[in-house]
């Protein structure tokens, strides 16, 4: 039993650099494992959770980093992703409804339509968000329910795909699913390969959509790892020719009106006047609203939101007040604040002064269908009202673009054509 060595480290750091390198490597590996796990889990949470992944530093690149951050802010202002994914029923629907850009109805022609706007024929079908990520693709309807869960040729949209770029990149497309040919018509691009396009102009988004979608093979016919075809929609400058082509041109899908997008507008969630929908009998089967039986009611019907104080409002922000219910009536009818209530509008039921609603004569019908996530918007009520009384016609649109096309003498032109 010889004496023990009692030397202690002398003038040495307590930890070697090699040990430090090992530990840092382990730390990085643990972190990466956690990231992959999160990703796998979040994919399941909801389509929306994907937007949360913008926080990945890799996604914040170059000039787009700012837009990604601001998007983060607006999202976090609303609801935490995890919280949102736990919402159920009408809460969930409301939340999802807020994530899509919803066009207002065109009740009058916006200025500079021919220079600042695009037009295209809206495919008839189900509006949905399509998200590809981590080897799978999910489509969600406007009310939040899942439409399809499928492999696609979109980036990271199927497990077998040769993925270029970071594994966690994902795409969000604004689509309309067209039943007859089982095709997703892409009407807008919100995120591409992990990059947010929310704060890009429509002009850029459409350019990007046109140049990027086809190169992935997403527009190819369906195959084993590509269950549904995606298709671009022809988009036109809103001049006379463009407008005419969109209105009368042959497209592979059933049309449901025309959509107008302001070129400079960002992708704004919720109702926006910078995207507009217009329709007539020639380009849509559904000009006038139908009731729950699919019949066009004799009187126009509107659905309004009942407020605490009994006021009846539209879904706009700020809301437009259409009337008021007194407390007794509310109680008798079993209504609660937050209920959606259906009313009939009599034929001379609305009066306008300078384009603003001055008076609405509406009659209580009953509670609206519970599946509804929101009340009617002001523009929709007015469009429907106008459609029954003095619709904005295609000719009016053509007129406005041709008149505005001669810059500098707008008023004169209007008179001359008349």
């Amino acid at each position: 039993m010889p004496p023990r060595d009692l030397r202690r480290p002398f003038k040495r750091p307590a930890i070697s650099d090699q040990q430090k390198r090992r530990e840092l490597a382990l730390l990085r590996q643990a972190q990466n494992r956690r990231d992959s796990q999160h990703q796998a889990r979040h994919l399941a949470s909801s389509v929306l959770s994907l937007q949360n992944q913008n926080t990945e530093p890799e996604a914040e690149l170059g000039p787009e980093s700012e837009t990604v951050e601001s998007e983060q802010e607006t999202l976090s202002k609303d609801l935490d992703i995890l919280q949102a994914s736990k919402l159920k029923g009408s809460e969930a629907r409301k939340w999802f409804a807020r994530q899509l850009m919803l066009p207002e109805w065109m009740i009058d022609v916006p200025p500079r339509l021919n220079t600042d706007w695009y037009v295209f024929a809206r495919p008839s079908g189900k509006r949905c968000f399509v998200v590809s990520s981590n080897g799978t693709t999910v489509s969600r309807l406007r009310n939040g329910s899942i439409l399809h869960h499928f492999p696609s040729a979109l980036p990271n949209g199927a497990r077998t795909r040769d993925i270029s770029g970071p594994a966690h990149s994902f795409c969000i497309l604004d689509c309309i699913f067209h039943e007859p040919d089982q095709t997703y018509y892409v009407i807008d691009m919100v995120c591409w390969r992990g990059y947010s396009l929310y704060d890009c102009s429509a002009e850029f988004r459409f350019f990007w959509l046109n140049s990027k979608l086809a190169e992935t093979g997403a527009c190819d016919p369906p195959s084993l790892y590509h269950k549904y075809r995606f298709s671009l929609v022809p988009i036109y400058e809103c001049n006379q020719i463009g407008l005419h082509t969109a209105y009368t041109g042959v497209v592979p899908y059933v049309k449901d009106g025309l959509l107008f997008y302001n070129k400079h507008a960002h992708y704004q969630t919720g109702n926006t006047p910078l995207a507009l929908v217009w329709k007539d009998e020639n380009c849509s089967q559904y000009v006038l609203d139908t009731d729950s039986n699919g019949q066009v009611p004799t009187q126009q019907q509107v659905v309004l939101d009942l407020q605490e104080d009994g006021r009846l409002t539209t879904s706009d922000d700020p809301p437009v007040v259409f009337g008021c219910l007194d407390g007794d009536f509310v109680q008798k009818s079993g209504l609660r604040p937050g209920s959606f209530v259906r009313f009939a509008v009599s034929d001379e039921g609305m009066r306008f002064v300078d384009g603003k609603l001055e008076m609405a004569n509406i009659h209580y019908i009953g509670k609206a269908n519970r599946a509804r996530a929101f009340a009617d918007s002001y523009s929709k009520v007015l469009f429907q009202y106008a459609a029954r009384h003095s619709p904005l016609r295609f000719g009016d649109l053509i007129e406005s673009v041709s008149s505005f096309s001669d810059l500098g003498n707008e008023n004169l032109d209007v008179e001359m054509v008349d």
Partner: protein, 872 residues
């Protein structure tokens, strides 16, 4: 029957190589042909006083080696082999050994006592050889001196080999009585006293009960303290060793004796010979270790239920202890800084002073400052060096507020000394002290910065200049720069005060690595380590310069590969240099790979770098270079799916790394790299999975593999499953039963020992990560049903973890995540099962109520997944 082995044993020690080889061969054959007879012959040889001492010693040594080995699995084999030997053979061998203790030949006695202890180590835990201790102690008082000495030595070895819990208290009492009596001052035979004192050192662990008895403890302590005053140096030294051991084992019992011990140690430090004085200093270092641990654990809060009490021995002894230690600082040896094995009074004293400062903090400063002020400008280098060393030693512990003003003055002084002092030691210690200043008083956590715009340039200028000094001084300058850079690691991506000097610093460090004498004093290693830290802590501004380093370091690595026909010494040096260069490339890769724009530029080097790493591997025949493996992990992370193109060539080394049981660190690192590659390649790793999984499964079932590698292997299952998804199907039938049996084994910790619980939790975490990865990998696949049969067991595992209540936060987080993954992947099918489990209610609710953000996050996820699974 025993055969004649004497000549063979002597031949085995012959100078002539052929004779020796032949004899070794015969011994080997003999052992293989008839083990019992072989062992009998050896024990007979050892016990026979007519035989030459050399053959007896070797016989004993071979016997000892037949009972024990370093490698754990080999050791277990030998134990089993001994236990299965015929009882009469064993009895005969043991009897020979006991008989040898009476031999007049000291070497024979000593060898026999070691062999006896080895056998005791095997047999006592199996309740065999119960008469041994009784036989040793039976008539110890009547024994002749040399037998008594051998018996005490045997008891000492025995206590070293055997765990205290297999010896009952009566026998412990008898052992201690015999040992302590042998140590007593009345024992006239110094050999006996020394053997007894050394035996006590090992027997202290058996004395738990005796130390709670005041009378017995007083007696033991008195005898130990008396032995420190023996006229025999070896006895004094052994007695101080006992005191050091007591200071950590029985800290809480020391209070009544501490004053006496202080007097004894202080006299020894000042007057005794160095080996004794060093032990005396070590006593106080050890007390510091204890008090630092206690204070760290309880944060100085002993109000209520803390188990261990801090007696503040150091604080009380401070006024006398510090002057004693300061005196030792003046007893430096010439050239101690160049001698790696040096350990002397000055070094031990300074180290102890550093620990004292860590223990008491601010209080040490006023006691040391006068010494520094008095000596720092003296003409004798010993005084200047001692003063500087004292200052450097007290920089960790006291608060920055207490030190900053002193440091600000000292900084200027030291920069001058570093440039101008004629003495190498003074410069060495000065550079080291600067490093300590930067380590403890520079960084984002210190409120008043000691490095300012005004002095930064000067500091760097001096450090870079000193890097040209003697290797030991230059090495300390590199160390100082290391901590200087580290202090800026939190400056963020914006701007670092080091930016203007970055190029110059890197250049200087590279120059150091090329110095002819960079092999001395660890200088080259220090230069690369500093370069690594400078890179780690660099900001975006200097990224282009870090990028420029890539081809440079690659070129260096390339050059090491060109050298041919190396001697083994040169090969070792080449290997070391390759390690440093791979380490550097790893750090750079991790740095540049972490942000997208730099990663993109960096990628142009990936092919070349990978081919260099492969060539480094090829330099060796059977082992894998650990540093190259680490670097490849970083490269895989940076390259992502493109790493696939390297796999065909890299795969064999990956496999080699996984097979490296002996260097388990290499094996563990390789397992980690498999995880990196899984995440980089995703399903492109599929073609390699058969080989990887086979090897991993083999590793898990091996008892040769170091246990620390097993948890990462489980986690790695998860990485693979997540990467290849439902393709993991074919491995389920192998991996799931293994996970299941490991889960069963580790649902409960096999002891209350802190280390066992810690390992248990690490292993649990690995198992759970495997389950997580497998569930998530199978999600949305039509094959999820394959996992259904495993669900009940996994839920049961989670339940038992919850019930055991000994998991750490990490396990809790992973476990509750597995619950979510199970629900998420199995969905409604698992609904009823989940609802039945305790985990889905109590465990989940507990996790939801915790403040830990990570646990909560996982729990929220589990809750969501369960609610979906149940609502389907």
């Amino acid at each position: 029957m025993a055969m004649e082995v004497t000549q063979i044993l002597l031949n085995a020690q012959a100078v002539d190589g052929t004779v020796r080889k032949h004899a070794e061969e015969s011994l080997k054959q003999f052992q293989e042909q008839n083990l019992p007879s072989f062992l009998l012959s050896l024990s007979g040889e050892l016990s026979n006083d007519d035989k030459p001492v050399d053959s007896r010693k070797l016989a004993g040594l071979i016997l000892k080696n037949a009972l024990d080995a370093k490698e754990q699995h080999r050791k277990l084999e030998l134990v089993q082999r001994w236990l299965s030997l015929d009882t009469t053979v064993k009895a005969q061998i043991k009897s020979c050994l006991l008989q040898t203790l009476s031999s007049p030949v000291p070497d024979a006695r000593s060898t026999a006592s070691q062999v006896i202890a080895k056998i005791a180590g095997i047999e006592l835990p199996h309740n065999q050889w119960p008469e041994l201790i009784g036989a040793l102690l039976s008539n110890i008082h009547q024994l002749p001196g040399h037998v008594k000495q051998a018996t005490l030595e045997t008891l000492g070895y025995l206590c070293e080999e055997v765990s205290p819990d297999v010896v009952d208290q009566d026998q412990v009492n008898n052992i201690l009585t015999a040992v302590v009596q042998g140590m007593n001052a009345t024992e006239g035979n110094n050999d006996i006293r020394l053997a007894a004192t050394r035996a006590l050192y090992n027997a202290l662990g058996f004395a738990q009960v005796n130390f709670t008895n005041d009378m017995e403890r007083d007696y033991i302590m008195r005898v130990v303290c008396e032995a420190t005053l023996s006229s025999e140096l070896k006895i004094r030294q052994a007695a101080f060793e006992c005191l050091v051991s007591i200071s950590s084992t029985y800290y809480d019992k020391l209070s009544p004796y501490i004053q006496d011990i202080f007097n004894i140690t202080s006299k020894a430090v000042r007057e005794d010979e160095e080996p004794v004085a060093l032990q005396a200093i070590e006593f106080w270092s050890s007390i510091c270790d204890e008090e630092i641990d206690i204070l760290e654990e309880y944060g100085g809060d002993f109000s209520g239920d803390s188990e261990i009490i801090c007696f503040y021995f150091i604080k009380q002894a401070l006024p006398a202890l510090v002057p004693m230690l300061l005196e030792t600082l003046l007893k430096q040896e010439e050239d101690q800084d160049q001698d790696e094995g040096a350990w002397n009074l000055a070094m031990a004293g300074g180290t102890c002073l550093g620990l004292v400062a860590k223990t008491v903090g601010d209080d040490v400063v006023p006691l040391v400052m006068p010494f520094i002020e008095e000596n720092i400008t003296k003409p004798d280098w010993r005084q200047r060096e001692a003063a500087t060393y004292a200052f450097g030693s007290i920089l960790e512990g006291p608060s920055p507020e207490k030190l900053i003003s002193i440091v600000n003055v000292a900084l200027i002084f030291m920069l001058t000394a570093l440039m101008k002092d004629p003495n190498n030691h003074v410069k060495d210690t000065t550079a080291w002290t600067l490093g300590r200043i930067f380590e403890f008083l520079h960084g984002s956590t210190v409120e008043t910065p000691i490095i300012t715009q005004a002095n930064c340039q000067e500091i760097i200028k001096v450090l870079l200049q000193v890097m040209k000094d003697a290797p030991n001084v230059a090495e300390k300058a590199c160390g100082a720069l290391y901590f200087l850079a580290q202090g800026y690691e939190d400056v963020g991506s914006s701007s670092s005060p080091l930016t203007p000097f970055f190029q110059e610093i890197v250049q200087a460090l590279l120059t150091v690595t090329h110095r002819e004498d960079a092999g001395e004093s660890r200088l080259r290693t220090a230069a690369y380590e500093t370069l690594n830290e400078v890179v780690r802590c660099s900001t975006d501004e200097t990224t282009p310069m870090v990028m420029q380093l890539v081809p440079l370091i690659m070129m260096e690595l390339h050059q090491t590969l060109e050298a041919q026909k190396l001697s083994s010494d040169e090969r070792e040096k080449q290997n070391e240099l390759q390690g440093l260069l791979c380490g550097c490339l790893q750090v750079i890769t991790q740095k540049l790979g972490a942000s997208e724009p730099t990663r993109f530029v960096f990628m142009q080097y990936a092919d070349q770098m990978m081919s260099l790493f492969l060539r480094v591997f090829a330099c060796r025949s059977a082992t894998v270079h650990e540093e190259a493996m680490l670097a490849i992990g970083a490269l895989a992370y940076a390259t992502g799916s493109e790493f696939a193109k390297y796999m065909p060539e890299f795969y064999k080394y990956l496999e080699m790394g996984l097979q490296n049981f002996e260097e388990y660190q290499v094996c563990a690192i390789t397992v980690g790299v498999v995880g990196d590659i899984c995440r980089a390649l995703e399903d492109k790793i599929l073609p390699y999975c058969d080989g990887i999984m086979t090897q991993l499964l083999k590793n898990l079932s091996s008892n040769q593999l170091h246990r620390t590698v097993k948890p990462p292997i489980f986690s790695c299952f998860g990485d693979i499953a997540l990467a290849i998804g439902e393709n993991f199907e074919k491995y389920l039938m192998y991996s799931m039963p293994m996970l299941q049996s490991a889960a069963e084994l580790f649902a409960r910790a096999s002891g209350a020992d802190e280390e066992i619980i810690e390992y248990t939790n690490v292993l649990r975490n690995g198992i759970l990560e495997a389950y997580s990865g497998i569930f998530q990998g199978f999600k949305n696949s039509p094959k999820t049903q394959l996992l259904m049969p495993y669900a009940p067991h996994i839920l049961q595992f989670l339940d038992s973890l919850y019930i055991e209540k000994d998991m750490d936060d990490l396990v809790m987080k992973t476990a509750i995540g597995v619950l979510g993954d199970l629900a998420d992947t199995l969905g409604g099918n698992a609904g009823p099962l989940i609802q039945q489990s305790v985990s889905s209610r109590d465990f989940l609710n507990e996790c939801l109520s915790l403040d830990d953000h990570l646990i909560k996050e996982s729990a929220e996820w589990a809750k969501l997944a369960i609610s979906r699974a149940i609502s389907v």
